[in-house]
């Protein structure tokens, strides 16, 4: 056929079709060049990102033991139901909340909060919806795997506090890192990610870095539905180091029992070894159950429990030993007396100061509880003569008291290895605002300060730390709870890029004790006075233990701030024993219970008895025989 014969430009028309075909193919070629050559790297990365997943392998968190190897905190394997972030970016899971809530028996409100959190923090790979899933929960998830492919079940070691409320304030608890914490640069630097479990409060927070260990991961290839196809590499986790604390669980249990049996069930008892600062017991009541924050946080009951901890007026979350601040009352007289001796306001030879049954400042008379004549220092301590200290403080002047406050570190934290310790408030800290408001520091404030009232509120730990040195020639240690971190082995082969070196055992990095300057004579006069409180017919005579002389000081602190409702005085007792060669120092504070010798002192005595039963059983037996 001759195309040219036709009158329709057929040849041109066929050629046109051919050109169109070639142009279309050329368009495809150009597009190919763009996708493969220009953007090849970009798509290659995209492909890799969607097929490679890092599945973290949690490191077992170190356990915590008491000084005798008794288990205080452990981790146990549990299953978590988690929500993957990837699918929920696109599906609206709010429709499914009702089903999740029913299927997993989780509070709906809690689920809403969780979902909102995951939306705000795109860093989540997965988010835990329910910890500690039961067999029923797991089978529910498995049964709905197709319907709710965003749900998974993951094995996760969960923190477990077998002793419940015991030692809760010391141990703290663990929980998911908060969005607020994640914003801190130092937290980001350490590579924390949303959903990571960290210590909150107590030793869990203080030593989180060592307890936590180093998580490993599995680098895997997944298919389009997130199912693992093959493994590229596995990096084993390095477990956290086990912590041996200085706590003696038997003493701790006794202390907690005493608080539990006290009239108000509120207060703190703390025991340390005055020779090195090791904390043997630290009880604070009321207490809380750390398991609520870990295992019950997702249940409606658990959430009510936690809410109650925060709103309860008795403040169970407060560690009264280091965060409670109270007027010290007469316990304040111990550091005050040493300050007076150091400053020369009194001397060993001439320590007598008039009692006078009280003192008149301006037109106001402030009385002493008794009429003690003009007693020497040791007698003033034994009988807790207020009049003596009114006049002594006026002699020292407020500057002298402040010097004493600085000597005994009442203007500082004790340095204990626990987070969130409060600093005592004293005339030193109050001075600027009082002078600003009242024009001057009046004598009456000095008088009140002399017996640990008004401008003096101290933490129990700072008081125990100030008094304990009396028994050990003035050596004032930093109290601490860490006895030892156990060593942990290396992970992987040396030279391997994923090699994690072994971590050695280490103890508390104990600073040199601060020395409270006292001559032996000065020290003796203090010891004699404190010995007399219990053993010489003093204010604490009721707790005498034969063969194990306790040196101590009672305190009965008025609290004007709580006057409404007829709030009772705080009852204090601070002590150590044996008096002239102490092995243990104990402080007790029972809130709003009344006289120090009647409430705090017997509670402290019970701790000594437990100590004796363990370390000097013969003494305790002898005493009991003597009683009979």
């Amino acid at each position: 056929m001759k195309l040219n014969d036709q009158a329709q430009n057929l040849g041109i028309r066929v050629g046109t079709i051919q050109v169109i075909a070639f142009v279309l193919l050329a368009i495809l070629g150009v597009r190919l060049y763009y996708l493969q050559v220009v953007k090849g790297e970009y798509y290659s990365d995209k492909a890799e990102n969607q097929r490679i997943r890092m599945i973290p392998i949690p490191a077992p968190r170190g356990a915590i033991f008491d000084r005798n190897g008794k288990l205080l905190v452990d981790s146990r394997p549990t299953y978590n139901v988690t929500l993957s972030n990837e699918p929920i970016k696109k599906i609206d899971v709010t429709d499914r909340l009702e089903d999740y809530s029913r299927g997993l028996n989780v509070d709906r409100q809690y689920l809403i909060e969780r979902i909102n959190l995951i939306k705000k923090q795109p860093g989540f790979e997965t988010m835990v919806l329910k910890e500690n899933a039961s067999i029923q929960d797991i089978s529910w998830v498995e049964a709905h795997a197709l319907e709710y492919s965003e749900l998974r079940v993951e094995l996760q070691p969960q923190r477990f506090y077998p002793l419940g409320k015991t030692l809760a304030h010391v141990l703290g608890y663990v929980g998911e890192i908060s969005p607020k914490q994640l914003e801190k640069p130092e937290v980001i630097e350490k590579g924390f990610r949303p959903g990571d479990i960290i210590g909150k409060g107590g030793l869990e927070q203080q030593y989180d870095e060592h307890l936590r260990g180093k998580p490993g991961y599995r680098k895997v290839i997944v298919d389009s539905r997130g199912r693992v196809q093959s493994e590229i590499e596995t990096v084993e986790p390095q477990a956290g180091q086990d912590l041996v604390s200085t706590i003696d669980l038997d003493l701790q249990l006794t202390a907690e029992e005493q608080l539990e049996n006290s009239t108000t069930k509120r207060g703190t008892i703390m025991a340390i070894d005055p020779n090195n600062g090791e904390v043997l017991a630290m009880a604070s009541a009321p207490s809380f159950d750390p398991n609520a924050f870990v295992t019950r946080i997702a249940t409606p009951e658990g959430r009510r429990e936690i809410a109650n901890y925060y709103t309860n007026e008795e403040r169970p979350l407060l560690n009264r030993a280091i965060q409670g601040r109270y007027h010290p009352g007469s316990t304040w007289k111990i550091p005050e007396s040493i300050g007076a001796l150091q400053q020369g306001a009194i001397t060993v030879a001439h320590s007598n100061v008039a009692c006078g049954g009280g003192i008149t400042i301006g037109n106001k008379f402030t009385r002493c509880m008794g009429s003690h004549g003009s007693p020497p220092l040791s007698y003033a301590i034994t009988k807790s003569c207020d009049g003596y200290y009114y006049r002594l403080a006026l002699k020292m002047k407020i500057e002298g008291l402040i010097e004493m406050i600085e000597t005994f570190d009442f203007d500082k934290r004790s340095g204990i290895d626990l987070p969130n310790e409060k600093i005592s408030q004293t005339p030193k800290s109050w001075m600027p605002s009082v002078v600003k408001r009242e024009g001057k520091w009046s004598d009456i404030r000095t008088v009140y300060a002399s017996i640990g009232q008004d401008t003096v509120v101290v933490t129990p730990i700072s008081m125990l730390r100030a008094v304990a040195p009396v028994g050990v020639a003035g050596r004032m240690f930093v109290p601490h709870l860490l006895k030892e971190f156990k060593a942990i082995g290396a992970v992987g082969e040396e030279g391997d890029p994923n090699y994690v070196p072994a971590k050695p055992s280490f103890g508390f990095d104990r600073p040199e004790p601060k020395i409270i300057e006292m001559t032996p004579e000065q020290n003796k006069i203090m010891l004699d006075g404190m010995w007399g409180v219990v053993n010489g017919g003093g204010t604490g005579a009721g707790i005498k233990i034969n063969g194990f002389d306790i040196a101590g000081k009672t305190g009965t602190a008025q609290n004007s701030s709580l006057n409404s409702g007829g709030a009772q005085d705080h009852s204090w007792f601070v002590s150590f024993a044996p008096a002239y060669k102490p092995e243990i120092a104990v402080i007790g504070l029972i809130e709003n219970s009344g006289f120090g010798g009647r409430h705090a002192a017997p509670a402290v005595k019970a701790v000594y008895e437990t100590y004796l039963a363990k370390h000097h059983p013969n003494l305790l037996n002898g005493q009991q025989i003597a009683k009979k």
Partner: protein, 373 residues
């Protein structure tokens, strides 16, 4: 006489065209294997090629003019097959489309692939017989009618992708039957106005389904498209193509996009993405050049065709193949919407390979008889 024809046949047989087609299918078999190494699609495709070659040889030897004479019979037969597909029990539903017919002995096949051939033949018969001069409106209507019957039946399946592949057949035939250039210009302008308008009206009236809207939106704005919903096919296809880079991934088949099931339908509609991943830019360009060469051979055949009908048959086939290649690869490269159009000679599927080889068989038959007149 017979000996002369035999000799002439052998001399004039277009070996290069046949070789190109077979080579592309073989290349496709390799890619089907890459896409689904654990499945038997690739071996089935080899069997399909064998069957297709037999059909091809038979068609090439038969005088196409007789076939064109019998076109109405084939056409009616094709329409019956398309109607049977819609009969419950006979038609097989796959992915929501009732496009397959399951018959005893023959097995399962897709009539919409084959009916293109009688449609082309009937168009060629009608327009090939007409005298020179510009097309009348009535003639255009007859052409549209020939097309409308199979397209209408296919839309009932519904298989919009296949239905679309019929339009270039008519377009080419009309173009080559001296439709006035101003009509063409008018059609293009009307298309530019009415296609978006029709789409808009379809969206407003709800005749266009939501997934179809989304598929169009994905093309218009792939970056903000939902990569897990309707944008999934397009996004994954682009990733797969891009990942191939200049020369392909080489080995490491276990982490390929198709092995990990990121790429949907890798052995059929998205076979070009698999090719791109495995052979890279070099492989893809080679394949496009092979298509270009094949199309050139076909056009050359059209120019030498002994009669008008033969020329129309070949050019309609050229138009159909070009359109399918462009629609399919354009979809894979993410600039055309996802529509189920197979890539000629590459996608796994006996129906598609067979129908393409039958079409090429006609071309060869026509070329062999170029000097007979």
């Amino acid at each position: 006489m017979a000996a002369i024809i035999e000799k002439r046949n052998l001399r004039d047989f277009d070996w290069l065209t046949a070789f190109l087609a077979v080579a592309i299918v073989c290349f496709g078999v390799w890619q089907i294997y890459n896409a689904q190494p654990t499945e038997t699609y690739w071996s089935k495709q080899i069997v399909g090629l064998g069957i297709a070659l037999i059909a091809f040889a038979v068609i090439a030897i038969i005088d196409y003019r007789r076939v064109i004479d019998a076109a109405p019979v084939f056409y009616i037969f094709g329409l019956i097959l398309l109607a049977l597909v819609l009969v419950p029990g006979l038609g097989v539903k796959v992915n929501g489309q009732q496009a397959w017919l399951k018959l005893p002995i023959i097995g399962q096949f897709q009539p919409s692939e084959f009916v293109k051939i009688p449609t082309v033949l009937l168009l060629a018969k009608y327009f090939g017989a007409r005298k020179a001069g510009t097309l009348t409106f009535k003639e255009i209507l007859v052409g549209a009618g020939i097309l409308a019957a199979p397209v209408g039946l296919i839309m009932f399946e519904p298989d919009a992708g296949q239905a679309m592949t019929y339009f270039p057949l008519l377009a080419v035939v009309l173009f080559l039957s001296a439709v006035k250039v101003r009509y063409i210009a008018l059609t293009i302008v009307a298309g530019l106005i009415f296609v978006p308008l029709a789409f808009w009206v379809g969206v407003q009236t709800g005749n266009i389904k939501k997934y179809q809207i989304e598929r169009v939106n994905v093309i218009l704005d792939p970056e903000s498209a939902d990569p897990r919903g309707f944008g999934y096919h397009t996004v994954q296809s682009m990733i797969t193509v891009g990942k191939g880079g200049l020369s392909g991934i080489k080995g490491d088949t276990e982490t390929s996009q198709s092995a990990l099931k990121f790429l949907p339908e890798p052995h059929t509609d998205f076979i070009f993405a698999v090719t791109a991943e495995n052979t890279g830019f070099i492989g893809c360009i080679s394949l496009l050049l092979a298509y270009a060469l094949l199309l050139s051979r076909l056009v050359a055949g059209a120019r030498q065709a002994p009669d008008r009908a033969g020329m129309l048959v070949i050019m309609a086939i050229v138009g159909g193949l070009t359109f399918q290649i462009f629609m399919n690869v354009g979809m894979v490269l993410g600039f055309l919407p996802v529509i189920g159009v197979p890539l000629p000679l590459m996608s796994a599927g006996l129906s598609a390979v067979l129908s393409t080889f039958i079409a090429i068989g006609f071309v060869i038959s026509i070329k062999m008889r170029r000097f007979v007149n």
